[in-house]
């Protein structure tokens, strides 16, 4: 296996595994938010900001994986 092949493989593995965790996390956050909304629809405003913050923090991890994959691939 030469370096270029390894590089392709590495970037694919980086983003593939790196998207797994944040994906699960985003799903959990979303499901809990929907659950909360279902129980108490008036709390929409109160749920919104923590939801966005939680999503942002979780998604950031996926973005790190993406940046690492891009760096492996292109730099």
């Amino acid at each position: 296996m030469d370096a270029e092949t390894m590089r392709l493989l590495a970037s694919a593995i980086a983003i593939g595994l790196g998207a797994l965790g944040p994906g699960l996390g985003l799903g959990m956050i979303g499901s809990k938010a929907m659950e909360a909304l279902g129980r108490n629809p008036e709390a929409r405003e109160a749920i919104f900001v923590p939801l966005i913050l939680g999503l942002a923090f979780t998604e950031a991890i996926g973005i790190y994986a993406l940046v690492v994959a891009l760096i492996i691939k292109f730099v």
Binding site: E45, I52, A56, A60, I63, L66, F74
Partner: protein, 346 residues
Amino acid sequence: MSKRQKVLVWAAGIIALLVVLSLLRIPKVVLPGIIIRAETVVHLFGFPITNTLLATWLTMLVLILGSWAITRKMKVVPGRWQGLLEMLIEGFYNLVKGVAGPKWARQFFPIVMTIFLFLVTSNLMGLTPLYGGWGVLEPAEGAHTQGAQPVKWLNESHSVGLWVTGEKQEAQAAVEGTGAEAEELYMLAPMFRSAATDLNTTIALALVSVVMAQVFGVKALGPTYFGKFIAVGSIKRALTKKGVGCVGRIGALGLGFIDIFVGVLETISEFSKIISFSFRLFGNVFAGEVLLGVMAFLIPYLMSLPFFGLEIFVGVVQALVFMMLTVAFFVIAVSGHGSEEHAEEH
């Protein structure tokens, strides 16, 4: 047929013409290279100006001229544009007030709203045809040859050119047939490139956000704000507190050392905020551009449209996220650090 219908028919005709032309591959299009660093497109007084910096200036221009034009003749009963701006400002002010409380919202709002407006404008403008497709042709050099193509010059002075598509040899042959030159490989540096696709822009915004959090922290708590990072307060208390036995003192000292460690962690987390802020925004917007580029060449016209919708959504959400995180960190900075304050109150 009404005027509106006529315009629609014309627009549909032009779009259909463009679709047919591109299916016949006129003009020929090449897959753009994916380049992480922003390209230098012009030199101003010896300073290299990158395309993302130009885009930043364009965004600033749009924001300044836009708000000037909208607020030039303000009325008590707002018109359409003034109403939009008022709705936007008022809605976000209430959002910030909900998180930060009325006292601090007045101070936080100008900074976070500027960040939001700048980011949302720059992200949405990055999706317009003004960005990306045209720019400066540069000779490909060194390691940055990805996406480089031969160029067919359209005039004598080599100032206007078209990229030649296809395999290198084929293109060479095609160009030789027309009498133009294409010895060297060139690559396109777009004149404008969405501002947040440059890590420099996002790091600058992240630095503003994190530094302002410290400023607000000091403003709210005074020098005690830094007690969060250099947490020697509880050790001092453990040594000077009266009426505790030897065992109690040792226990308090142990807790004090844990506090010092927590302080170190706080310091690290403050720096990691810069990284997380900047990479989140950069990664999202840059990945969006790459996604649009890939989709446009995977299934032209059909695939691009839903992804443009997605990118509009992502652009707005990322601006909102940057703003809300900034507000949240400001709030954490001004609200002090629970245990020490309580200890002093008792």
